[in-house]
Protein backbone atom coordinates (compact mmCIF):
# COMPACT_ATOMS: atom_id res chain seq x y z
CA UNK A 1 0.00 0.00 0.00
CA UNK A 2 1.30 3.41 -0.93
CA UNK A 3 2.43 5.44 2.08
CA UNK A 4 2.13 9.19 2.45
CA UNK A 5 4.47 11.14 4.67
CA UNK A 6 3.53 14.16 6.72
CA UNK A 7 6.14 16.73 5.66
CA UNK A 8 5.15 18.87 8.65
CA UNK A 9 1.90 20.36 9.77
CA UNK A 10 0.81 23.56 8.09
CA UNK A 11 -2.46 25.38 7.63
CA UNK A 12 -4.13 25.31 4.23
CA UNK A 13 -4.77 29.07 4.45
CA UNK A 14 -0.99 29.57 4.40
CA UNK A 15 -0.94 27.55 1.19
CA UNK A 16 -3.39 30.07 -0.22
CA UNK A 17 -1.23 32.95 0.98
CA UNK A 18 1.86 31.40 -0.61
CA UNK A 19 0.03 30.88 -3.89
CA UNK A 20 -1.30 34.43 -3.89
CA UNK A 21 2.18 35.78 -3.21
CA UNK A 22 3.49 33.88 -6.22
CA UNK A 23 0.64 35.14 -8.39
CA UNK A 24 1.41 38.69 -7.31
CA UNK A 25 4.90 38.26 -8.70
CA UNK A 26 3.99 36.38 -11.87
CA UNK A 27 0.62 37.70 -13.02
CA UNK A 28 0.09 41.49 -13.17
CA UNK A 29 -3.65 40.96 -13.77
CA UNK A 30 -4.21 39.39 -10.36
CA UNK A 31 -5.71 41.75 -7.78
CA UNK A 32 -6.80 40.92 -4.24
CA UNK A 33 -9.48 42.19 -1.89
CA UNK A 34 -9.97 41.54 1.80
CA UNK A 35 -12.70 42.37 4.30
CA UNK A 36 -10.62 43.12 7.40
CA UNK A 37 -8.99 39.69 7.73
CA UNK A 38 -5.63 40.13 6.03
CA UNK A 39 -3.74 38.25 8.74
CA UNK A 40 -6.23 35.40 8.95
CA UNK A 41 -6.18 34.94 5.17
CA UNK A 42 -2.36 35.21 4.96
CA UNK A 43 -2.59 38.02 2.42
CA UNK A 44 0.09 40.25 4.01
CA UNK A 45 2.88 39.50 1.54
CA UNK A 46 0.70 40.14 -1.50
CA UNK A 47 -0.46 43.40 0.09
CA UNK A 48 3.10 44.53 0.89
CA UNK A 49 4.45 43.64 -2.52
CA UNK A 50 1.48 44.92 -4.56
CA UNK A 51 -0.11 47.83 -2.69
CA UNK A 52 -1.70 49.17 -5.89
CA UNK A 53 -3.38 45.81 -6.58
CA UNK A 54 -4.69 45.20 -3.08
CA UNK A 55 -7.97 46.56 -1.73
CA UNK A 56 -8.84 46.60 1.96
CA UNK A 57 -12.63 46.98 1.88
CA UNK A 58 -13.31 46.88 5.60
CA UNK A 59 -16.08 44.84 7.17
CA UNK A 60 -18.29 45.02 4.08
CA UNK A 61 -18.38 41.70 2.30
CA UNK A 62 -21.31 42.48 0.00
CA UNK A 63 -19.48 45.52 -1.33
CA UNK A 64 -16.31 43.43 -1.72
CA UNK A 65 -18.09 40.92 -3.98
CA UNK A 66 -19.53 43.70 -6.14
CA UNK A 67 -16.21 45.50 -6.44
CA UNK A 68 -14.56 42.22 -7.41
CA UNK A 69 -17.15 41.74 -10.17
CA UNK A 70 -16.44 45.27 -11.41
CA UNK A 71 -12.67 44.77 -11.42
CA UNK A 72 -13.04 41.98 -13.97
CA UNK A 73 -14.42 44.63 -16.35
CA UNK A 74 -11.10 45.99 -17.49
CA UNK A 75 -9.36 42.65 -17.47
CA UNK A 76 -8.37 41.96 -13.88
CA UNK A 77 -8.58 38.68 -11.96
CA UNK A 78 -9.82 39.45 -8.45
CA UNK A 79 -9.21 37.14 -5.49
CA UNK A 80 -11.48 37.91 -2.53
CA UNK A 81 -10.51 36.86 0.96
CA UNK A 82 -12.60 36.37 4.07
CA UNK A 83 -13.94 33.51 6.19
CA UNK A 84 -16.03 30.90 4.38
CA UNK A 85 -19.17 31.95 6.23
CA UNK A 86 -18.80 35.57 5.11
CA UNK A 87 -17.72 34.46 1.61
CA UNK A 88 -20.93 32.58 0.93
CA UNK A 89 -24.04 32.79 3.08
CA UNK A 90 -23.61 36.44 3.93
CA UNK A 91 -23.21 37.48 0.29
CA UNK A 92 -25.13 34.84 -1.61
CA UNK A 93 -27.19 37.18 -3.75
CA UNK A 94 -24.21 39.37 -4.61
CA UNK A 95 -22.34 36.29 -5.80
CA UNK A 96 -25.42 35.00 -7.59
CA UNK A 97 -26.28 38.10 -9.60
CA UNK A 98 -23.07 40.14 -9.93
CA UNK A 99 -20.62 37.22 -10.25
CA UNK A 100 -22.18 33.87 -11.22
CA UNK A 101 -25.09 34.99 -13.44
CA UNK A 102 -22.86 37.71 -14.90
CA UNK A 103 -20.11 35.10 -15.42
CA UNK A 104 -17.40 37.25 -13.88
CA UNK A 105 -13.89 35.90 -13.45
CA UNK A 106 -13.83 36.25 -9.66
CA UNK A 107 -11.99 33.85 -7.33
CA UNK A 108 -13.81 33.62 -4.00
CA UNK A 109 -11.18 32.40 -1.54
CA UNK A 110 -12.63 31.24 1.73
CA UNK A 111 -10.69 30.40 4.86
CA UNK A 112 -11.79 28.99 8.21
CA UNK A 113 -14.26 26.69 6.47
CA UNK A 114 -15.99 23.94 8.39
CA UNK A 115 -15.99 23.13 12.05
CA UNK A 116 -12.20 23.26 12.57
CA UNK A 117 -12.34 27.02 12.86
CA UNK A 118 -12.82 25.89 16.43
CA UNK A 119 -13.28 28.12 19.46
CA UNK A 120 -15.17 30.98 17.77
CA UNK A 121 -18.16 28.68 17.48
CA UNK A 122 -21.08 28.26 15.14
CA UNK A 123 -21.50 31.93 14.18
CA UNK A 124 -18.18 31.72 12.36
CA UNK A 125 -18.13 28.07 11.32
CA UNK A 126 -19.99 27.15 8.18
CA UNK A 127 -21.05 23.66 7.19
CA UNK A 128 -23.36 24.67 4.36
CA UNK A 129 -21.05 26.56 2.00
CA UNK A 130 -20.28 23.74 -0.44
CA UNK A 131 -23.99 23.26 -1.01
CA UNK A 132 -24.62 26.97 -1.48
CA UNK A 133 -21.82 27.36 -3.97
CA UNK A 134 -22.26 24.16 -5.97
CA UNK A 135 -25.87 25.06 -6.70
CA UNK A 136 -24.86 28.21 -8.57
CA UNK A 137 -24.73 27.55 -12.32
CA UNK A 138 -21.21 27.89 -13.69
CA UNK A 139 -19.50 28.01 -10.30
CA UNK A 140 -16.42 25.81 -9.82
CA UNK A 141 -16.08 24.51 -6.24
CA UNK A 142 -12.71 23.42 -4.86
CA UNK A 143 -11.85 22.17 -1.35
CA UNK A 144 -8.17 21.41 -0.89
CA UNK A 145 -6.59 19.02 1.58
CA UNK A 146 -3.20 20.45 2.58
CA UNK A 147 -0.76 23.32 2.21
CA UNK A 148 0.85 22.17 -1.03
CA UNK A 149 -2.43 21.42 -2.73
CA UNK A 150 -3.97 24.72 -1.67
CA UNK A 151 -1.02 26.61 -3.09
CA UNK A 152 -1.22 24.64 -6.34
CA UNK A 153 -4.97 25.23 -6.57
CA UNK A 154 -4.54 28.96 -5.99
CA UNK A 155 -2.12 29.13 -8.91
CA UNK A 156 -4.36 26.97 -11.07
CA UNK A 157 -7.58 28.93 -10.65
CA UNK A 158 -5.91 32.12 -11.91
CA UNK A 159 -5.54 30.34 -15.26
CA UNK A 160 -9.17 29.20 -15.32
CA UNK A 161 -11.68 31.68 -16.74
CA UNK A 162 -14.86 31.84 -14.69
CA UNK A 163 -16.04 32.11 -11.10
CA UNK A 164 -14.41 29.80 -8.58
CA UNK A 165 -15.07 29.05 -4.91
CA UNK A 166 -11.83 27.93 -3.23
CA UNK A 167 -12.39 26.54 0.28
CA UNK A 168 -9.68 25.99 2.86
CA UNK A 169 -9.17 26.09 6.60
CA UNK A 170 -7.55 27.38 9.72
CA UNK A 171 -5.88 24.48 11.61
CA UNK A 172 -2.43 23.12 10.95
CA UNK A 173 -2.80 19.72 9.29
CA UNK A 174 -0.33 17.25 7.75
CA UNK A 175 1.19 18.44 4.49
CA UNK A 176 1.57 15.31 2.39
CA UNK A 177 0.89 16.04 -1.29
CA UNK A 178 3.71 16.82 -3.69
CA UNK A 179 5.14 20.30 -3.66
CA UNK A 180 5.34 20.36 -7.46
CA UNK A 181 1.92 18.77 -8.14
CA UNK A 182 0.04 19.51 -11.33
CA UNK A 183 -3.33 20.69 -10.03
CA UNK A 184 -6.05 19.92 -12.53
CA UNK A 185 -9.47 21.38 -11.79
CA UNK A 186 -12.11 18.65 -11.93
CA UNK A 187 -9.64 15.74 -11.85
CA UNK A 188 -9.79 13.56 -8.75
CA UNK A 189 -6.58 12.05 -7.39
CA UNK A 190 -6.51 8.38 -6.47
CA UNK A 191 -4.12 8.27 -3.52
CA UNK A 192 -4.36 4.58 -2.63
CA UNK A 193 -5.68 1.80 -4.81
CA UNK A 194 -7.87 -0.82 -3.17
CA UNK A 195 -10.57 -3.39 -3.92
CA UNK A 196 -13.08 -3.61 -1.05
CA UNK A 197 -14.36 -0.09 -0.54
CA UNK A 198 -13.91 3.39 -2.03
CA UNK A 199 -13.30 6.27 0.35
CA UNK A 200 -13.88 9.60 -1.41
CA UNK A 201 -12.74 12.45 0.81
CA UNK A 202 -12.31 16.18 0.48
CA UNK A 203 -10.41 18.84 2.44
CA UNK A 204 -9.16 18.00 5.91
CA UNK A 205 -10.83 14.58 5.73
CA UNK A 206 -8.38 13.34 3.07
CA UNK A 207 -5.58 12.78 5.58
CA UNK A 208 -8.06 11.13 7.94
CA UNK A 209 -9.06 8.82 5.08
CA UNK A 210 -5.42 7.82 4.60
CA UNK A 211 -5.12 7.01 8.31
CA UNK A 212 -8.33 5.00 8.14
CA UNK A 213 -7.11 3.07 5.10
CA UNK A 214 -3.94 2.10 6.96
CA UNK A 215 -5.91 0.81 9.94
CA UNK A 216 -8.34 -1.00 7.67
CA UNK A 217 -5.45 -2.67 5.83
CA UNK A 218 -4.30 -4.08 9.18
CA UNK A 219 -7.76 -5.65 9.49
CA UNK A 220 -7.50 -7.12 5.99
CA UNK A 221 -9.75 -4.54 4.30
CA UNK A 222 -8.44 -3.00 1.11
CA UNK A 223 -9.66 0.59 0.75
CA UNK A 224 -9.24 2.80 -2.28
CA UNK A 225 -8.74 6.43 -1.24
CA UNK A 226 -9.67 9.21 -3.65
CA UNK A 227 -8.95 12.88 -3.01
CA UNK A 228 -11.86 14.88 -4.39
CA UNK A 229 -10.37 18.37 -4.40
CA UNK A 230 -12.91 19.59 -6.95
CA UNK A 231 -16.49 19.07 -5.89
CA UNK A 232 -17.84 20.79 -8.97
CA UNK A 233 -17.30 19.77 -11.69
CA UNK A 234 -17.14 16.34 -10.05
CA UNK A 235 -14.84 13.72 -11.56
CA UNK A 236 -17.65 11.23 -12.08
CA UNK A 237 -15.57 8.97 -14.29
CA UNK A 238 -12.96 8.27 -11.61
CA UNK A 239 -15.62 7.72 -8.96
CA UNK A 240 -17.77 5.37 -11.04
CA UNK A 241 -14.74 3.39 -12.20
CA UNK A 242 -13.63 2.93 -8.61
CA UNK A 243 -17.05 1.91 -7.29
CA UNK A 244 -17.55 -0.53 -10.17
CA UNK A 245 -14.47 -2.25 -8.75
CA UNK A 246 -15.13 -1.94 -5.00
CA UNK A 247 -18.94 -2.07 -4.93
CA UNK A 248 -19.43 0.51 -2.16
CA UNK A 249 -18.34 3.97 -1.13
CA UNK A 250 -17.83 6.19 1.90
CA UNK A 251 -17.85 9.94 1.36
CA UNK A 252 -16.01 12.10 3.90
CA UNK A 253 -16.21 15.86 4.29
CA UNK A 254 -16.17 18.62 6.88
CA UNK A 255 -19.65 19.78 5.86
CA UNK A 256 -23.30 19.02 6.35
CA UNK A 257 -24.34 15.72 4.77
CA UNK A 258 -27.13 17.74 3.12
CA UNK A 259 -25.77 19.57 0.12
CA UNK A 260 -22.18 18.43 0.34
CA UNK A 261 -19.81 16.15 -1.55
CA UNK A 262 -21.67 13.06 -0.35
CA UNK A 263 -24.87 14.12 -2.04
CA UNK A 264 -23.05 14.86 -5.29
CA UNK A 265 -21.57 11.37 -5.17
CA UNK A 266 -24.94 9.78 -4.34
CA UNK A 267 -26.49 11.47 -7.35
CA UNK A 268 -23.66 10.29 -9.56
CA UNK A 269 -23.98 6.71 -8.35
CA UNK A 270 -27.77 6.73 -8.63
CA UNK A 271 -27.38 7.70 -12.28
CA UNK A 272 -24.49 5.44 -13.23
CA UNK A 273 -23.91 2.64 -10.70
CA UNK A 274 -26.27 2.45 -7.70
CA UNK A 275 -24.21 1.30 -4.71
CA UNK A 276 -24.27 1.31 -0.90
CA UNK A 277 -22.90 4.59 0.42
CA UNK A 278 -22.15 5.90 3.91
CA UNK A 279 -21.76 9.58 4.71
CA UNK A 280 -19.05 10.91 7.02
CA UNK A 281 -20.27 14.47 7.50
CA UNK A 282 -22.13 16.57 10.03
CA UNK A 283 -25.73 15.52 10.49
CA UNK A 284 -27.78 18.64 9.78
CA UNK A 285 -26.44 20.53 12.76
CA UNK A 286 -24.61 23.72 13.61
CA UNK A 287 -21.19 23.50 15.17
CA UNK A 288 -20.02 24.81 18.55
CA UNK A 289 -16.92 26.02 20.38
CA UNK A 290 -14.06 23.62 21.08
CA UNK A 291 -10.63 22.68 19.79
CA UNK A 292 -10.54 21.39 16.22
CA UNK A 293 -9.62 17.87 17.37
CA UNK A 294 -12.42 17.81 19.96
CA UNK A 295 -14.94 18.98 17.39
CA UNK A 296 -13.82 16.49 14.74
CA UNK A 297 -14.21 13.74 17.35
CA UNK A 298 -17.60 14.89 18.64
CA UNK A 299 -19.09 15.45 15.17
CA UNK A 300 -17.73 12.21 13.70
CA UNK A 301 -15.26 13.68 11.25
CA UNK A 302 -12.05 11.72 11.87
CA UNK A 303 -10.36 8.48 10.79
CA UNK A 304 -12.26 6.53 13.42
CA UNK A 305 -15.59 7.72 12.01
CA UNK A 306 -14.45 6.78 8.52
CA UNK A 307 -13.50 3.27 9.68
CA UNK A 308 -16.91 2.83 11.28
CA UNK A 309 -18.61 4.01 8.10
CA UNK A 310 -16.55 1.51 6.08
CA UNK A 311 -17.63 -1.38 8.30
CA UNK A 312 -21.25 -0.28 7.97
CA UNK A 313 -21.13 0.03 4.19
CA UNK A 314 -19.30 -3.30 3.78
CA UNK A 315 -22.10 -5.01 5.71
CA UNK A 316 -24.62 -3.54 3.31
CA UNK A 317 -22.62 -4.72 0.33
CA UNK A 318 -22.65 -8.33 1.51
Amino acid sequence: MKKYVDQGKQDTRSGFGAGLTELGRSNPKVVALCADLIGSLKMQTFQEENPDRFYQVGVAEANMMGIAAGLTIGGYIPFTGTFANFSTGRVYDQIRQSIAYSHKNVKICASHAGITLGEDGATHQILEDIGLMKMLPGMTVINTCDFNQTKAATLSIAEHHGPVYLRFGRPKVPNFTAVDQDFQIGKAVTLIEGNDVTIAATGHLVWEALLAAENLANQGISAEVINIHTIKPLDEETLVRSVRKTGCIVSAEEHNYLGGLGESIARTMAQHHPSPQAFVATQDTFGESGTPAQLMEKYGLNNKAIEEAVVQVLNRKR
Partner: protein
Protein backbone atom coordinates in the same frame (compact mmCIF):
# COMPACT_ATOMS: atom_id res chain seq x y z
CA UNK B 1 -23.12 66.66 -30.79
CA UNK B 2 -26.73 66.38 -31.97
CA UNK B 3 -28.84 69.53 -31.53
CA UNK B 4 -31.56 69.75 -28.91
CA UNK B 5 -34.36 69.08 -31.40
CA UNK B 6 -32.69 65.84 -32.52
CA UNK B 7 -32.30 64.80 -28.90
CA UNK B 8 -35.90 65.69 -28.16
CA UNK B 9 -37.05 63.63 -31.14
CA UNK B 10 -35.10 60.69 -29.77
CA UNK B 11 -36.68 61.16 -26.33
CA UNK B 12 -40.16 60.95 -27.86
CA UNK B 13 -39.23 57.89 -29.88
CA UNK B 14 -37.74 56.13 -26.87
CA UNK B 15 -40.93 56.83 -24.90
CA UNK B 16 -42.91 55.15 -27.69
CA UNK B 17 -40.53 52.17 -27.59
CA UNK B 18 -41.01 51.83 -23.83
CA UNK B 19 -44.80 51.93 -24.05
CA UNK B 20 -44.97 49.49 -26.94
CA UNK B 21 -42.50 47.04 -25.39
CA UNK B 22 -44.29 46.74 -22.04
CA UNK B 23 -47.72 46.75 -23.69
CA UNK B 24 -46.85 43.86 -25.98
CA UNK B 25 -45.92 41.49 -23.14
CA UNK B 26 -48.24 43.08 -20.58
CA UNK B 27 -45.36 43.34 -18.11
CA UNK B 28 -42.35 45.47 -17.30
CA UNK B 29 -41.69 48.83 -15.67
CA UNK B 30 -42.76 51.90 -17.64
CA UNK B 31 -42.85 54.50 -14.83
CA UNK B 32 -39.16 54.72 -13.93
CA UNK B 33 -38.22 54.13 -17.57
CA UNK B 34 -40.17 57.17 -18.76
CA UNK B 35 -38.82 59.27 -15.89
CA UNK B 36 -35.20 58.71 -16.91
CA UNK B 37 -35.57 58.90 -20.67
CA UNK B 38 -34.11 62.39 -21.03
CA UNK B 39 -31.18 61.43 -18.79
CA UNK B 40 -30.32 58.37 -20.89
CA UNK B 41 -30.58 60.27 -24.17
CA UNK B 42 -28.23 62.95 -22.82
CA UNK B 43 -25.87 60.34 -21.35
CA UNK B 44 -25.52 58.22 -24.49
CA UNK B 45 -25.61 61.00 -27.09
CA UNK B 46 -23.92 63.95 -25.40
CA UNK B 47 -22.08 63.07 -22.20
CA UNK B 48 -20.31 59.74 -22.59
CA UNK B 49 -17.27 59.24 -24.79
CA UNK B 50 -17.99 55.76 -26.02
CA UNK B 51 -16.89 53.43 -28.77
CA UNK B 52 -19.32 52.32 -31.46
CA UNK B 53 -18.50 48.65 -30.98
CA UNK B 54 -19.19 47.05 -27.64
CA UNK B 55 -16.42 45.36 -25.70
CA UNK B 56 -16.92 44.01 -22.22
CA UNK B 57 -13.76 45.64 -20.85
CA UNK B 58 -14.62 49.09 -22.23
CA UNK B 59 -11.00 50.23 -22.33
CA UNK B 60 -10.47 53.94 -23.11
CA UNK B 61 -14.18 54.74 -23.18
CA UNK B 62 -16.71 55.88 -20.62
CA UNK B 63 -18.87 53.03 -19.39
CA UNK B 64 -22.28 52.89 -17.71
CA UNK B 65 -23.90 50.58 -15.17
CA UNK B 66 -27.64 50.41 -14.58
CA UNK B 67 -28.20 49.35 -10.98
CA UNK B 68 -32.00 49.69 -10.95
CA UNK B 69 -32.30 47.06 -13.66
CA UNK B 70 -36.10 47.12 -13.77
CA UNK B 71 -36.00 50.14 -16.08
CA UNK B 72 -34.73 47.76 -18.73
CA UNK B 73 -37.23 48.90 -21.43
CA UNK B 74 -35.51 52.29 -21.44
CA UNK B 75 -32.02 50.77 -21.33
CA UNK B 76 -32.76 48.43 -24.25
CA UNK B 77 -34.32 51.15 -26.39
CA UNK B 78 -31.36 53.45 -25.77
CA UNK B 79 -28.82 50.71 -26.53
CA UNK B 80 -30.61 49.67 -29.72
CA UNK B 81 -30.99 53.22 -30.95
CA UNK B 82 -27.33 53.92 -30.12
CA UNK B 83 -26.47 51.11 -32.53
CA UNK B 84 -25.43 48.29 -30.20
CA UNK B 85 -28.02 45.89 -31.64
CA UNK B 86 -30.87 46.07 -34.19
CA UNK B 87 -33.93 48.05 -33.08
CA UNK B 88 -36.16 45.21 -34.39
CA UNK B 89 -34.88 43.14 -31.49
CA UNK B 90 -36.94 45.36 -29.16
CA UNK B 91 -39.83 43.19 -30.38
CA UNK B 92 -38.43 40.32 -28.33
CA UNK B 93 -38.52 42.08 -24.94
CA UNK B 94 -39.33 39.57 -22.18
CA UNK B 95 -40.09 36.79 -24.67
CA UNK B 96 -38.74 33.26 -24.46
CA UNK B 97 -35.21 32.88 -25.90
CA UNK B 98 -34.68 36.65 -26.04
CA UNK B 99 -31.49 38.51 -25.22
CA UNK B 100 -33.78 41.22 -23.80
CA UNK B 101 -34.55 39.56 -20.48
CA UNK B 102 -36.95 41.12 -17.99
CA UNK B 103 -33.94 42.56 -16.19
CA UNK B 104 -30.63 43.21 -17.96
CA UNK B 105 -28.08 40.42 -18.06
CA UNK B 106 -24.79 39.57 -19.68
CA UNK B 107 -25.91 35.96 -19.75
CA UNK B 108 -27.34 36.11 -23.26
CA UNK B 109 -24.53 38.32 -24.57
CA UNK B 110 -26.53 41.48 -25.25
CA UNK B 111 -24.10 44.22 -26.36
CA UNK B 112 -24.13 47.22 -24.03
CA UNK B 113 -24.75 45.30 -20.81
CA UNK B 114 -21.76 44.66 -18.55
CA UNK B 115 -23.37 43.10 -15.49
CA UNK B 116 -26.72 41.66 -14.50
CA UNK B 117 -28.90 43.91 -12.38
CA UNK B 118 -32.37 43.76 -10.94
CA UNK B 119 -31.76 42.50 -7.45
CA UNK B 120 -31.27 45.99 -6.07
CA UNK B 121 -28.35 47.68 -4.38
CA UNK B 122 -25.48 45.93 -6.16
CA UNK B 123 -24.63 48.24 -9.04
CA UNK B 124 -22.62 50.86 -7.20
CA UNK B 125 -20.13 48.30 -5.91
CA UNK B 126 -19.68 46.95 -9.43
CA UNK B 127 -19.24 50.46 -10.83
CA UNK B 128 -16.60 51.15 -8.19
CA UNK B 129 -14.75 47.99 -9.18
CA UNK B 130 -14.80 49.02 -12.82
CA UNK B 131 -13.58 52.50 -11.84
CA UNK B 132 -10.68 50.93 -9.91
CA UNK B 133 -9.83 48.84 -12.98
CA UNK B 134 -9.71 52.03 -15.06
CA UNK B 135 -7.26 53.53 -12.59
CA UNK B 136 -5.07 50.41 -12.74
CA UNK B 137 -5.16 50.61 -16.53
CA UNK B 138 -4.26 54.33 -16.49
CA UNK B 139 -7.47 54.83 -18.43
CA UNK B 140 -8.68 58.41 -17.86
CA UNK B 141 -12.28 57.76 -18.95
CA UNK B 142 -15.19 57.74 -16.52
CA UNK B 143 -17.64 55.28 -15.03
CA UNK B 144 -21.29 56.31 -14.78
CA UNK B 145 -24.00 54.52 -12.83
CA UNK B 146 -27.70 54.99 -12.19
CA UNK B 147 -29.62 54.02 -9.07
CA UNK B 148 -33.22 54.36 -7.96
CA UNK B 149 -33.99 56.42 -4.86
CA UNK B 150 -35.97 53.57 -3.34
CA UNK B 151 -32.94 51.40 -4.06
CA UNK B 152 -30.94 53.49 -1.59
CA UNK B 153 -32.78 51.59 1.14
CA UNK B 154 -30.47 48.65 0.36
CA UNK B 155 -27.56 48.61 2.83
CA UNK B 156 -24.93 47.58 0.31
CA UNK B 157 -25.14 51.06 -1.24
CA UNK B 158 -23.89 52.60 1.96
CA UNK B 159 -20.97 50.18 2.13
CA UNK B 160 -20.14 51.27 -1.40
CA UNK B 161 -20.59 54.97 -0.63
CA UNK B 162 -18.23 54.65 2.34
CA UNK B 163 -15.65 52.80 0.27
CA UNK B 164 -15.70 55.18 -2.71
CA UNK B 165 -15.10 58.20 -0.50
CA UNK B 166 -12.52 56.46 1.68
CA UNK B 167 -10.53 55.18 -1.28
CA UNK B 168 -10.96 58.34 -3.39
CA UNK B 169 -12.72 56.74 -6.34
CA UNK B 170 -12.96 60.06 -8.18
CA UNK B 171 -13.56 58.71 -11.70
CA UNK B 172 -17.12 57.70 -10.88
CA UNK B 173 -20.36 59.68 -11.33
CA UNK B 174 -23.20 57.88 -9.58
CA UNK B 175 -26.61 59.33 -10.39
CA UNK B 176 -29.65 58.70 -8.22
CA UNK B 177 -33.09 58.95 -9.81
CA UNK B 178 -34.95 60.94 -7.16
CA UNK B 179 -38.49 60.44 -8.37
CA UNK B 180 -39.79 59.96 -4.84
CA UNK B 181 -41.75 56.82 -5.74
CA UNK B 182 -41.31 53.11 -5.24
CA UNK B 183 -43.53 50.04 -5.64
CA UNK B 184 -45.58 50.47 -2.50
CA UNK B 185 -45.93 54.25 -2.65
CA UNK B 186 -43.98 57.43 -2.04
CA UNK B 187 -40.46 56.80 -0.78
CA UNK B 188 -41.07 59.10 2.16
CA UNK B 189 -44.03 56.95 3.22
CA UNK B 190 -42.47 53.54 2.56
CA UNK B 191 -39.12 54.27 4.21
CA UNK B 192 -38.10 57.89 4.51
CA UNK B 193 -34.87 58.61 2.67
CA UNK B 194 -34.73 62.19 3.87
CA UNK B 195 -31.98 64.55 2.82
CA UNK B 196 -30.08 62.36 0.40
CA UNK B 197 -27.63 65.11 -0.55
CA UNK B 198 -26.62 65.73 3.06
CA UNK B 199 -26.33 62.02 3.78
CA UNK B 200 -24.02 61.31 0.87
CA UNK B 201 -22.02 64.50 1.39
CA UNK B 202 -21.31 63.58 4.97
CA UNK B 203 -19.84 60.29 3.72
CA UNK B 204 -17.33 62.41 1.76
CA UNK B 205 -18.75 62.67 -1.76
CA UNK B 206 -19.12 65.71 -3.97
CA UNK B 207 -22.90 65.87 -4.50
CA UNK B 208 -24.86 68.05 -6.87
CA UNK B 209 -28.53 68.16 -7.72
CA UNK B 210 -30.32 68.53 -11.03
CA UNK B 211 -33.69 69.99 -10.16
CA UNK B 212 -35.19 69.64 -13.64
CA UNK B 213 -34.27 66.05 -14.33
CA UNK B 214 -36.64 65.80 -17.31
CA UNK B 215 -35.20 68.83 -19.08
CA UNK B 216 -32.45 67.93 -21.55
CA UNK B 217 -30.61 71.23 -21.25
CA UNK B 218 -30.66 71.12 -17.44
CA UNK B 219 -29.42 67.54 -17.46
CA UNK B 220 -26.59 68.31 -19.88
CA UNK B 221 -25.54 71.39 -17.94
CA UNK B 222 -25.70 69.58 -14.61
CA UNK B 223 -23.84 66.51 -15.85
CA UNK B 224 -21.13 68.63 -17.49
CA UNK B 225 -20.66 70.26 -14.11
CA UNK B 226 -20.46 66.77 -12.55
CA UNK B 227 -17.82 65.74 -15.09
CA UNK B 228 -15.78 68.82 -14.25
CA UNK B 229 -15.72 67.73 -10.61
CA UNK B 230 -14.19 64.30 -11.30
CA UNK B 231 -10.50 63.68 -10.72
CA UNK B 232 -10.44 65.82 -7.59
CA UNK B 233 -10.18 63.13 -4.94
CA UNK B 234 -13.89 62.63 -4.35
CA UNK B 235 -16.51 60.44 -6.02
CA UNK B 236 -19.28 62.50 -7.58
CA UNK B 237 -22.99 61.95 -7.00
CA UNK B 238 -25.81 63.55 -8.97
CA UNK B 239 -29.27 63.63 -7.46
CA UNK B 240 -31.55 63.77 -10.45
CA UNK B 241 -35.06 65.00 -9.67
CA UNK B 242 -37.41 63.37 -12.15
CA UNK B 243 -41.09 62.72 -12.56
CA UNK B 244 -41.97 59.05 -12.74
CA UNK B 245 -43.96 58.32 -15.91
CA UNK B 246 -42.86 61.58 -17.54
CA UNK B 247 -44.38 62.31 -20.95
CA UNK B 248 -47.54 60.25 -20.53
CA UNK B 249 -49.96 62.36 -18.51
CA UNK B 250 -51.87 59.64 -16.72
CA UNK B 251 -48.66 57.90 -15.66
CA UNK B 252 -47.04 60.98 -14.12
CA UNK B 253 -46.54 61.77 -10.41
CA UNK B 254 -47.66 58.35 -9.16
CA UNK B 255 -46.15 55.01 -8.23
CA UNK B 256 -49.10 53.26 -9.89
CA UNK B 257 -47.17 52.66 -13.12
CA UNK B 258 -43.95 51.50 -11.50
CA UNK B 259 -44.46 47.96 -12.73
CA UNK B 260 -47.69 47.93 -14.69
CA UNK B 261 -48.25 47.86 -18.45
CA UNK B 262 -50.86 49.97 -20.26
CA UNK B 263 -53.84 48.24 -21.89
CA UNK B 264 -54.72 48.80 -25.56
CA UNK B 265 -56.65 51.99 -24.95
CA UNK B 266 -54.05 53.42 -22.58
CA UNK B 267 -51.31 52.63 -25.07
CA UNK B 268 -53.13 54.60 -27.77
CA UNK B 269 -53.47 57.59 -25.47
CA UNK B 270 -49.80 57.42 -24.53
CA UNK B 271 -48.66 57.11 -28.13
CA UNK B 272 -50.95 59.98 -29.18
CA UNK B 273 -49.14 62.15 -26.65
CA UNK B 274 -45.81 61.10 -28.18
CA UNK B 275 -46.07 61.13 -31.96
CA UNK B 276 -43.62 59.06 -34.00
CA UNK B 277 -40.38 60.98 -34.74
CA UNK B 278 -37.48 58.96 -36.11
CA UNK B 279 -39.52 55.82 -36.70
CA UNK B 280 -40.99 52.97 -34.67
CA UNK B 281 -39.13 49.66 -34.54
Amino acid sequence: MPDIQELQDLVIQVRRDILRMVHKVNSGHPGGSLGCTEFFVALYHVLMNRHETFTMDGIDEDIFFLSNGHISPLFYSILARAGYFPVEELNTFRLLNSRLQGHPTTHEGLPGVRVASGSLGQGMSVAIGAALAKKLNNDPSLVYSLHGDGEMQEGQNWEAIMFAAGKKVDNLIATIDRNGQQIDGATEDVMPIGDLKAKIEVFGWDVLEIEEGNNLESIIEGMQEAKSRTGKGKPVCVILHTVMGNGVDFMMHTHAWHGKAPNDEQLEIGLAQNKETIGDY
